[in-house]
């Protein structure tokens, strides 16, 4: 299972990695089955590189990620990893409508408590 954390802030990627790792260890619900690989990407180019390398199952995408436009990136995701679940994240709640319209599977505001992200991950993704 491959998960890509796409965010230009290293501290955000680091925090998200910690969260995902904890989710995997959660005995209550087996969120991720089998070996799980978490990859960082600081820019859209890095995301595309990972997509081309191997299929990606989950993409946590910062909506303001520097690089190419979001809709173009989602297009590439759909093309290279058709089964990939894309969860868009942004500090701007108004980006939700845009993100969903452009093909993201879910949207999580960074201004909300992490419960929302956790429930979204549990709900939408069963890797």
């Amino acid at each position: 299972v491959r998960i890509v954390l796409a965010d230009d802030e290293q501290k955000v990627r680091s925090a998200l990695r910690l969260l995902l790792q904890e989710l995997m260890k959660d005995p209550a619900g087996a969120w991720c089955e089998g070996p799980c690989l978490i990859v960082d990407a600081a820019a859209t180019e890095a995301v595309v590189r990972e997509l081309k390398e191997e299929m990606v199952d989950l993409l946590l995408l910062d909506w303001e990620l520097p690089g190419m436009g979001a809709s173009e990136l989602i297009g590439k995701v759909r093309e290279l990893s058709p089964g990939c679940v894309v969860i868009a994240m942004s500090g701007r709640p108004e980006a939700a409508r845009d993100a969903l319209a452009r093909g993201a599977d879910a949207f999580v505001s960074k201004n909300e408590p992490p419960d929302r992200l956790v429930s979204t991950l549990r709900q939408r993704v069963r890797v």
Partner: protein, 767 residues
């Protein structure tokens, strides 16, 4: 020959010159013609008179000469005289016959000499020239056979020319005639006459004035008769004048004007009398002879000169009469040209000059009206311009509109100025100014404008309105502004303020009394209304721009908050979400995560403070640079998780603008460290450097990150341009050293004295 006068000559001088020239020429011509005619005539007259006198005298001389011969004849005609004389020639001296004849003849001659008074001496010469008998005893026995009067006297009657007799010591004339006895020439009877009688004859007056005289000149130029002038005695005077020379030398008669014997100019007539071999001279001094003529000529000349003077005076007066009004007109024109438009030419005449002056005054009047009209227009345009300037500089309508109203009132002395600004929904804002003061702007409903019918009308129709108190009623042609005449009410202008096709308001002006509103005011009002429309539009746009700017500023702050704080807080909350479970499972890892959390929250706090500084720029200028740098370091550390070491060691007093500039440079450099360097570590240093003589402050921002190639990176990117500008503004030296994979070092050195100079020209505390 072209006679041209200098251009600079005035008309007065020209006219005078021509006038005097003509008069003087005429006078001179008349005078000279008169002079020539009169003097010629006068001379002829004098010569004629002299000729008459000369003829008279000549006749007298001729008669005197004739008298000489006649007297000799008379002596001889006595009885027995030829016989007695014959006896003297033939008888022996001492004989009775001789003595008888001698005494008889002597008695006879003596008697004749005394009785006739003509001859001084009568004597008889024998056939051989010996004097046989003489009334002067001592002369007998003289031999005179060689004398002309004997030789000629033997042939016929002869008169010898006057000559000086040494024996008698006087001028004498000898007349002789042959004595015939019984048809035989027995001798010559001669008489010696002195010239006294001739002298008397010549001196006798003949009506020739004071200087006129007649005299005789002998063939050897000797003066024969006395002169009236003293100092010239006979026989010691010789006369050599042109007249005497002509008569004596050339034996001609005539007349001439020449230098007389005394040296003065005379008019003379000369006659040669061949019988006596003398010249008869009749002369008169030219001065006296022509005196009357001269007097007449002088009188003529004087009259001519007088008439010239009179003509000049009359001409001057006449020219003065023509030129003075002209030059006055010229002066007036000059003063009018200099700006005294109220002047009129004061010429009270009905002639051409009077008409010229009237035309001139009419022209000046027109000019005055034109200038006043222009002045009024200029006045209006200036007011419009002034209002336009204010309109472009004042953006607040509540400030601008009362100002424009006051300005109009002040400039044009209007009664009142009102500006109605239309708002939506049938309401408006009314700015109202009277002579004394301006009212506060008031919100009005369009239905409440009953007391301002003109404003209401224009607000309704959108058409301008001119209500003139003196305009003729009923003159409302198509397309013209409707005008209504209302007595005893102020004239009023109301014009719409239009923004595009929309009616934005109404400008209303009233005027009372001596300032009735006219088309010019209408023009001003319409122009101002157009400018006010611009002002209204400007104010609206400004408001819009202001709101837009505020919105943009809010967006920027929101973005900064998101970039700086939200991300950190998101990370913090995510870590905090899982931290309890991690800690439960693994204490050590939990403590690490806790430390991470601490750093992140400190960073977020520093970011918040940094953002607050951006919200209150004044706080930035007040804060100390070391505190600011530490705060920056923490913020960057919190944001990027790159440890930033901040080292501050300075005791220098740093001016506010330098603090701000160095802060901005450090902020920009640290942004680069956080965003682009990927460094493991960064440092910020602030140190004193230099020496006592030239203290300096050094700011160093350094990292061990990826670096860049200064030759490739554009100077404007990575905030390098901003950093350079900031450094230049305080006179600091900025140096950036970087190489790929070898980190970056931003190095700023500032000298207090340099900053002082350059800060003078920098903007006040740019933040």
């Amino acid at each position: 020959v072209r006679l041209s006068l200098p251009r600079s000559l005035t008309i007065r001088s020209r006219l005078l010159l021509y006038f005097v020239g003509i008069v003087a020429l005429t006078a001179a011509a008349i005078s000279s013609v008169t002079l020539v005619l009169v003097s010629h005539d006068a001379r002829d007259r004098v010569v004629g008179q002299l000729q008459s006198v000369a003829t008279l005298k000549q006749q007298e001389v001729d008669s005197w000469i004739g008298g000489l011969g006649l007297n000799l004849d008379i002596v001889l005609s006595g009885e027995d005289i030829p016989a007695d004389l014959h006896t003297l020639t033939v008888a022996v001296s001492g004989s009775q016959a001789y003595d008888s004849a001698y005494s008889h003849a002597l008695r006879r001659l003596t008697w004749a000499s005394e009785r006739m008074g003509l001859f001084e001496e009568l004597f008889f010469m024998g056939p051989k020239g010996g004097v046989l008998l003489s009334t002067t005893r001592g002369h007998e026995r003289q031999k005179l056979g060689m004398n002309d009067y004997f030789i000629q006297g033997m042939k016929r009657e002869f008169i010898q020319e006057p000559s000086y007799s040494l024996s008698l010591q006087e001028m004498t004339v000898v007349a002789s005639c042959p004595v015939t006895y019984r048809d035989v020439r027995i001798g010559v009877l001669a008489g010696r006459a002195n010239l006294d009688s001739l002298n008397t004859l010549m001196i006798g007056r003949a009506g020739l004035g004071q200087t006129g005289e007649t005299y005789l000149v002998g063939s050897n130029h000797r003066l024969l008769t006395a002169l009236r002038r003293p100092g010239y005695s006979v026989p010691d005077t010789y006369v050599r004048t042109t007249g005497a020379d002509a008569a004596v030398d050339d034996n001609v008669s005539g007349s001439a004007t020449y230098q007389g014997y005394a040296g003065d100019i005379v008019i003379g007539v000369y006659r040669w009398i061949p019988r006596l071999q003398v010249a008869l001279m009749a002369e008169q001094g030219a001065a006296e002879a022509l005196h009357t003529t001269r007097l007449a000529l002088w009188t003529t000349g004087g009259v001519a000169a007088l008439s010239v003077v009179l003509a000049i005076l009359a001409g001057t007066f006449l020219i003065h009469g023509i030129v003075r009004p002209l030059s006055e007109l010229g002066d007036t024109a000059g003063r009018i040209a200099a700006g005294e438009l109220d002047l009129t030419a004061n010429v009270k005449r009905e002639d051409e000059i009077g008409k010229l002056a009237q035309a001139f005054n009419r022209m000046t009047g027109q000019l005055r009206d034109l200038v006043r009209s222009l002045e009024k227009q200029t006045h209006h345009l200036r007011a419009i311009n002034e209002a336009g300037r204010q309109i472009s500089s004042i953006l607040d309508l509540d400030e601008l509109l009362p100002y424009v109203a006051r300005s109009l009132l002040r400039t044009f002395d209007y009664e009142s100025v009102r500006i109605l600004l239309l708002a939506e929904h049938g309401s408006g804002r009314l700015y109202s100014c009277g002579r004394d003061a301006c009212e506060e702007a008031a919100e009005v409903g369009l239905d409440d404008l009953d007391r301002l019918p003109a404003v209401a009308s224009v607000a309704q129709s959108g058409e301008p309105l001119l209500r003139s108190s003196h305009a003729a009623a009923g003159e409302t042609d198509d397309g013209r502004i409707p005008q209504t005449e209302v007595q005893d009410e102020p004239s009023e202008i109301a014009v719409p303020i239009r923004v595009g096709d929309n009616l934005a308001g109404v400008l209303d002006i009233t005027s009372r009394g001596s300032h009735p509103l006219d088309e010019q005011d209408l023009f001003t009002a319409r122009t101002l209304a157009d400018q006010l429309a611009i002002a209204v539009e400007n104010a609206r746009l400004y408001q819009h721009a202001h709101e837009l700017a505020a919105s943009k500023e809010r967006q920027r702050l929101a973005r900064d908050l998101h970039d700086a704080v939200s991300q950190t807080l998101f990370s913090v909350s995510v870590i905090a979400e899982v931290l309890p479970r991690i800690y439960e499972r693994d204490h050590e890892q939990g403590r690490q995560r806790l430390e991470e959390l601490r750093q992140l929250t400190r960073g977020a706090l520093a970011e918040m403070r940094t953002l607050l500084l951006e919200l209150r720029p004044a706080a930035l200028a007040e804060a100390e640079l070391p505190d600011l740098l530490r705060q920056l370091g923490e913020a960057v550390m919190g944001r990027s998780l790159i440890p930033i070491d901040v080292q501050v060691d300075t005791s220098l007093e740093i001016p506010a603008e330098v603090r701000v500039a160095l802060y901005r440079i450090a902020q920009e450099a640290l942004n680069n460290v956080a965003k682009h360097s990927g460094a493991d570590h960064g440092t910020v240093g602030l140190h004193d450097c230099g020496d006592n003589r030239r203290p300096a402050l050094e700011l160093v921002v350094e990292d061990d990150g990826s670096g860049f190639d200064p030759d490739v990176v554009r100077s404007g990117s990575l905030g390098l341009g901003i950093m350079t500008e900031r450094a230049d503004a305080i006179g600091a030296r900025l140096q950036i050293e970087s190489r790929p994979e070898e980190g970056t070092c931003v190095h700023v050195v500032w000298h207090p004295d340099a900053s002082f100079i350059t800060s003078q020209r920098s903007l006040p505390v740019a933040t």
